[in-house]
Symmetry: C2
Subunit: 240 residues, 2 copies
DNA sequence: AGAAGTTTGTGAACGGTTGCACAAACTCCG
DNA sequence: CGGAGTTTGTGCAACCGTTCACAAACTTCT
């Protein structure tokens, strides 16, 4: 039960909910980066910026930035640039930070607790409205004024808070079962920290964050770097 | 100082160290996923698997899996499949989990501490050999037998441990300065958790993990889901 | 007002990634 | 031993994402 249309994930985090309107997935992934850069600029009192400067702040090519923004509309002025505050508003509206999203965290071990304590959450339009864990040691504890409740009460908590976004920080073995329950309860977005591939029906978006995977990608490149040095030494030493 | 060839990051995590040999970056990003699936299979006593079954476990298309593996060599047997243990060894060798990589963590607040406590680290070929933080409350504390040292001793710690991979979990404001020092000390791979764009010279690989970004991508899709419902209601109500 | 300078928005070319479809290579069974 | 069945490895075509390059639209200066 509950492993219908797949829509799995695996390395490339691309999966669309239904038939998309038009903005490419790659662009969507960059919008938050632009938003952060704009916020930083606004904080420093800058109110107009060119695509070149904003692109540099966001770490992308300026043509790419302009193309990305062009999917949202024509919010710049030729010969001038973009109004920081206005552009921020427009991207924010697109990304959905107009209203505050209620989020439920499942699993409050090492990682889940760190996430719950994280303040950067709030400033980006998310609020942790519920936290559940089966451990008696954790139930009742409060983080930022919200109490941890029993995993058994997951149903009530989701219903009570209306959270559509869940953060999964349980052991890998438990992740799929929890995800199934969440999906059944109407959760349609899951951020998965457990090192496992989640099967969810179509219409549910899953993004995974896998620290081990990231490190292994870095290790691969490290490996190649030392391989190269090795090869160079050999070439120098025993010149064929 | 120290912002030479850029090699920045921004949404799409693609950046190659030098001139790559041949394996596409997209494939490299999936190898750890395959590795994890193979380990899980091996634990369950399965010793042979077809591309179809492995692809399902990894959440990818079977043609893609076969193509990915073909970059490494011909490790399968037609009509049979892949030997789990052998394939695991081969991918592991490629990814660099043959030897254990020393890793230094900078910044041991909420997140850094959670990472340091994380055991899944070790099982994937990484060992936290040093942890530094400027806070007097943290210096001297031990996690898994390793003591937290003063940020001022960063130079000695990197030299002593020979770590080429660093994990950055400092506040965003401090990240660039720490990265500059790390790069100067010879660190060539950085996993960045701070919500900021790092500028590093060519030859240094940066991967970033940004929880806020991930949530905002999910929020975007949530937004569109409710937009769709909205539009449908309107269409039903005031049928033009 | 007109010319020179600046910067956006986008068509078009390019390069990388994915998935199909099928020959080649194997196993199994009669 | 030969034919049926299975599964890999890969050429190829479609797709997606990135970057170049330039006209259009604006500002500024004279
Ligand atoms: N800690 C890290 O830095 C880190 C990094 C990357 C990935 N992860 C992954 O994140 C997950 C959590 O890691 P952690 O270090 O916090 O582990 P942890 O063991 O500290 O915490 C797991 C928590 O989940 C709870 N739990 C157990 N069974 C549950 C269930 N069926 N439903 C809901 N909750 C349940 C436990 O009570 C515990 O509080 C793991 O899958 C881990 O692989 C952790
Ligand atoms: N906690 C999370 O769940 C979470 C999630 C996503 C991103 N982040 C990001 O990760 C980073 C760390 O988050 P956190 O919640 O652990 O913050 P934190 O404030 O709990 O920890 C930051 C740590 O960095 C140390 N530090 C301060 N200045 C430093 C410097 N110059 N060099 C080295 N260390 C320094 C501090 O002493 C502290 O221990 C932040 O950039 C945050 O935005 C955190």
């Amino acid at each position: 039960m509950s492993s219908a249309g797949r829509s799995l994930d695996g390395g490339s985090q691309v999966q669309v909910a239904a038939a998309a309107k038009g903005i490419p997935e790659a662009t969507i992934a960059r919008l938050p980066v632009y938003l952060r850069a704009l916020t930083s600029l606004a904080d420093r009192g800058i109110d107009t910026i060119s695509s070149g400067a904003l692109a540099e702040a966001a770490g992308v090519n300026s043509a790419q930035l302009r193309k990305d923004l062009s999917y949202l509309g024509s919010y710049g002025t030729r010969g001038v640039g973009y109004d920081v505050e206005y552009l921020r508003f427009q991207i924010g509206r697109e990304v959905g930070s107009a209203h505050e999203w209620p989020v439920i965290i499942v699993g409050l071990g090492n990682l889940g607790t760190a996430l719950a304590n994280y303040s950067g959450f709030t400033s980006r339009g998310f609020r942790v409205v519920a936290m559940v864990d089966p451990s008696p040691d954790l139930i009742g504890k409060r983080i930022h004024g919200v109490a941890i409740t029993d995993l058994a009460d997951l149903e009530e908590e989701v219903a009570r808070t209306g959270a559509a976004i869940a953060v999964l920080a349980t052991p890998a073995e438990a992740a799929q079962a929890v995800a199934d329950r969440l999906v059944y309860l109407g959760v349609t977005s899951i951020l998965n920290f457990a090192a496992t591939v989640l099967a969810v029906p179509d219409g549910v978006n899953v993004r995974k964050v896998d620290l081990g995977q990231e490190l292994q990608i870095l290790a691969y490149h490290e490996q190649r770097k030392s391989d190269d040095v090795q090869r160079e030494l050999e070439r120098g030493g025993t010149a064929q």
